[in-house]
């Protein structure tokens, strides 16, 4: 504390006051640039400028460090106050980002200051560049006088630096395209975020889209209110995964169950037509009174049917929920290599440098959807980001093991 009180501002060495003043200055420079520059940053920082920027910025840091390590400016850049102020600026911008909804083409004051398109605004870029240079200095400083005890420090800080570099400078090269694949057709065009179509070096021929479903749920509803009966404040749904169930005070026996059925006259029969849905023949018993009948979950083509138990209550069956959905497809690369793949949620498929994700389907059609929405992602910088992430994971585990007392001097 004494140094900041006795020292005149801007006199070396710089502390928190100078650092935060610079943060504020940079913020205003960012806002000015955002307000007056005509070209959107997205275009300026696109490939290959992003690569030049990465190389230049990191080289500037390294040259500064190795030629002028003793200079007070370099010392300051590798100090905690600069780190706090730079990260503080990033935190402030993230706070805006976390608070205000993000809309690309906003012309209000928020839009003109870049607050409603934060991640590609000037202030954000400047803050990140500042964090990067501080982090680079902090890493170089410790690497130069490396001790094994500092391994966790290098892993955390260098890992973060590498991950940020991969994420920030790589961002303009990330492509995320949406492809609408239809059964039986081969498609090699996908939609960019701006709506334009683009040819991709991976063609997809969708063979079959399908959904695995859970057994349907049963519930008892009150005939007058139409509401599902509750117990302890929670609506009582029961997954129909066994032949005898207890819902509310009713004993329920499933006598017949067809996962795909349709009504013919008075009963349900297994069918394979579009819109076939689960049906069950059910007996309910309560206080010795037994009712038997069909209940049907219904679908886009057919009406659901409830089983009226008595004047008070009815039994309903809910449409089954998807357990998995997946697309079986053939992927074809420009060299005519073909591959049969199954793409499911959480299990993307890698082809020719692209990852293909299962995104969506025609939800009105459900399992009969013959359209599958896929997302194609290409991120050439991903390996860099992963190296950084795994270094940080290592650093975090070591930090847990060393704790405070062993990691600091």
């Amino acid at each position: 504390m004494p140094e900041t009180q006795n020292k005149i501002m801007w006199q070396a060495p710089w502390g928190y006051r100078e650092s935060f003043s610079i943060s504020v200055g940079l913020l205003f420079i960012g806002w000015l640039l955002e307000w007056f520059s005509n070209a959107p940053l997205v275009e300026i920082a696109s490939y290959p400028t992003n690569r030049y920027m990465a190389v230049i910025w990191l080289t500037v840091g390294a040259v500064l460090f190795f030629t002028a390590r003793k200079n007070f400016l370099v010392k300051w850049l590798s100090s905690v106050p600069a780190a706090i102020a730079s990260v503080g600026l990033l935190a402030l911008l993230s706070l805006f980002l976390g608070f205000f909804a993000q809309t690309p083409n906003d012309t209000s004051i928020l839009g003109r200051l870049g607050i409603s398109h934060m991640t590609d605004s000037w202030p954000f870029l400047i803050a990140i560049l500042w964090v990067i240079i501080c982090l680079e200095m902090a890493v170089l400083k410790r690497i130069r006088r490396f001790k094994w005890k500092d391994t966790w420090y290098i892993l955390s800080h260098l890992g973060l630096l590498i991950a940020i570099i991969g994420g920030v400078f790589g961002a303009p090269e990330v492509e995320r395209l949406v492809m609408n694949a239809f059964e039986g057709r081969t498609i090699w065009m996908a939609q960019q975020p701006d709506g334009k179509m683009k040819e991709v070096p991976v063609a997809v021929k969708l063979i079959n889209f399908d959904i695995e479903e859970y057994p349907p749920k049963l519930a008892i509803v009150d005939n007058t209110t139409g509401k599902v009966l509750e117990s302890m404040g929670k609506p009582q749904y029961q997954l129909m995964d066994e032949d005898t169930l207890q819902i509310w005070k009713y004993q329920i026996i499933v006598k017949k169950y067809y996962s795909m059925a349709a009504k013919v006259e008075k009963a349900y029969y297994p069918v394979e037509t579009i819109g076939a849905a689960p049906a069950a023949l059910i007996t309910t018993t309560r206080n010795g009174q037994t009712t038997e009948g069909w209940t049907y979950s219904g679908s886009l083509n057919f009406q659901p049917e409830a089983l009226k138990i008595n004047s008070e209550h009815s039994l309903i069956m809910l449409p089954p929920e998807p357990k998995h959905y997946f697309s079986d497809a053939v992927v074809i690369t420009p060299d005519q290599k073909r591959d049969s793949v199954r793409i499911r949620v959480n299990e993307a498929v890698k082809v020719n440098g692209w990852k293909i994700y299962q995104l969506d389907y025609d939800t009105d059609m459900g399992r009969w959807s013959n359209k599958s929405v896929l997302e194609l992602v290409h991120d050439p910088w991903l390996p860099i980001v992963y190296i950084g992430i795994f270094m940080m994971i290592g650093g975090a585990i070591m930090l847990f093991w060393q704790g405070k007392n062993n990691s600091s001097k």
């Binding site: 100090s79 608070f99 930090l399």
Partner: protein
């Protein structure tokens, strides 16, 4: 049903762990040999059950809600014990075992969840580690906030806080290591499930801010270790941000765009 024996295993593990905790607190020493024995017995019980289940169903048990809780129990126990061996915080092992028992209890009371498969996006190998490290991070950071509050109170009463600050610092270090893991596992999972590791989704942004607040604390402390009052205050403030992040996100204007607001059922 493959989970047929579960209640016996759960009861045995619970019993072992409760005994272990009682032993820990009645004995004055921080390490009671018998408590170690009972902690390990409980762990062995759960590992056996998980192994048997795995063999019986012929696939890693990671797909249903009930199976997920089984892993919570197991890893809460294992990491809690490892942390206890290293750091000797009695509350830490008690919290871990307490949470583990809680998950056992939920499973025992809701057998229907053994087969309840989760929504597709949640069926990922990253789900369980992501949740577990956050459970530890929040516990440690909450503990650090309590220590900080006690510190503020003692300072107000003009009493010594000499021992408290190193304790708070260490808890933050441990807590931040878990918080960092949580953030990173989240990123890896997001890449697998949604195509990108970081999308500045409101929930992610607020988790990031929480993380920055604690990083701020660590760095400020490192730079000027002497000032206890400021340290305690920052720590309470950082926990405030954590709470805000946890509960407040859904009320922000930005939350309409979040992918993390699943409501199951």
């Amino acid at each position: 049903m493959n989970w047929f024996d579960f209640p016996y295993f759960a009861a045995a593990a619970t019993l072992f762990w409760v005994i272990a905790m009682i032993l820990l607190f009645v004995s004055n020493k921080n390490t009671n040999r018998w408590s170690h024995v009972f902690i390990i017995l409980g762990l062995a019980t759960m590992i056996s059950f998980a192994t048997i289940l795995w063999v019986r169903i012929g696939r890693p048990p990671m797909r249903t809600l009930g199976e997920t809780r089984l892993w919570y129990t197991l890893f809460l126990g294992l990491i809690g014990y490892a942390g206890y061996l290293k750091w000797k915080y009695r509350w830490f092992i008690s919290y871990s075992l307490g949470m583990a028992i809680l998950f056992l209890g939920i499973n025992a009371l809701h057998p229907e969840t053994y087969d309840k498969v989760m929504m597709p996006a949640l069926q990922s190998p990253w789900f369980v580690p992501h949740v577990i490290v956050y459970l530890f991070a929040y516990a440690l950071l909450a503990a650090s906030a309590l220590v900080a509050l006690k510190g503020c109170w003692l300072m107000f009463r003009k009493q010594s806080t000499e021992k408290l600050l190193p304790l708070a610092d260490n808890m933050v270090y441990l807590g931040v290591s878990f918080l960092t893991l949580g953030l990173l596992f989240g990123a890896l999972w997001a890449k697998e499930a949604w195509g990108h590791y970081w999308t500045w989704d409101p929930k992610e942004t607020w988790a990031f801010l929480t993380w920055l607040a604690y990083l701020g604390y660590m760095h400020i402390r490192h730079f000027r270790p002497g000032n206890a009052k400021t340290a305690f205050r920052i720590l309470v403030f950082a926990f405030g941000i954590l709470i805000l992040c946890w509960f407040g996100v859904y009320y922000m204007p930005s939350a309409k765009q979040s992918v993390h607001t699943y409501s199951q059922q």
